[in-house]
Amino acid sequence: DAMVIQNPRYQVTQFGKPVTLSCSQTLNHNVMYWYQQKSSQAPKLLFHYYDKDFNNEADTPDNFQSRRPNTSFCFLDIRSPGLGDAAMYLCATSRVQGRYGNIQYFGAGTRLSVL
């Protein structure tokens, strides 16, 4: 049973053409994260939502935006993708408190190619 679902699994876009990646969760977690993982590198946090509060990392480019319309869904928007934005994008969720607090559960990722 998939608990963090990312769509699509593979996305191809053209240089400069806006693209949106989707993440949904069935865990009812209050925090949702987006990470960028380039080939053979560690995931790097872009931003996260704690409930409705958006928290951007200081070095996340302005080209990256996010929306969280409700608890279950979170979107990553790339306004003008460049070749350097080709990567795997990972969505993760967690609950802050409780026995399993701070454990992050990951989706399978969306691999973005920019042509």
Binding site: N30, V31, Y33, Y35, Q41, A42, P43, K44, L45, H48, Y50, N55, E57, L90, A92, S94, V96, N102, I103, Q104, Y105, F106, G107, A108, G109
Partner: protein, 115 residues
Amino acid sequence: AQTVTQSQPEMSVQEAETVTLSCTYDTSENNYYLFWYKQPPSRQMILVIRQEAYKQQNATENRFSVNFQKAAKSFSLKISDSQLGDTAMYFCAFVKGGGADGLTFGKGTHLIIQP
């Protein structure tokens, strides 16, 4: 800011052997969690084991155990009776406790289990 260092880019062992992956970290926090995540090829990141910093007892999960040395800021993962399915990228990760911060990952260790 915290850092996580994995000094072994790749390791290879025979099936059924025991292998230890190294991780060191640096932080000024007292309340934090450490994790080992497994990322199989083209598959999603899954939690292997979690250690709470305030607990002296080392965490264990079946064949997986950690050696947590808080003073030395060391957090190694031991895999006993290794199996072919253990072949994956292993990431050591840190998160500050009590909030919704994202994970800080090491660069990963590519573990290959040979038949």
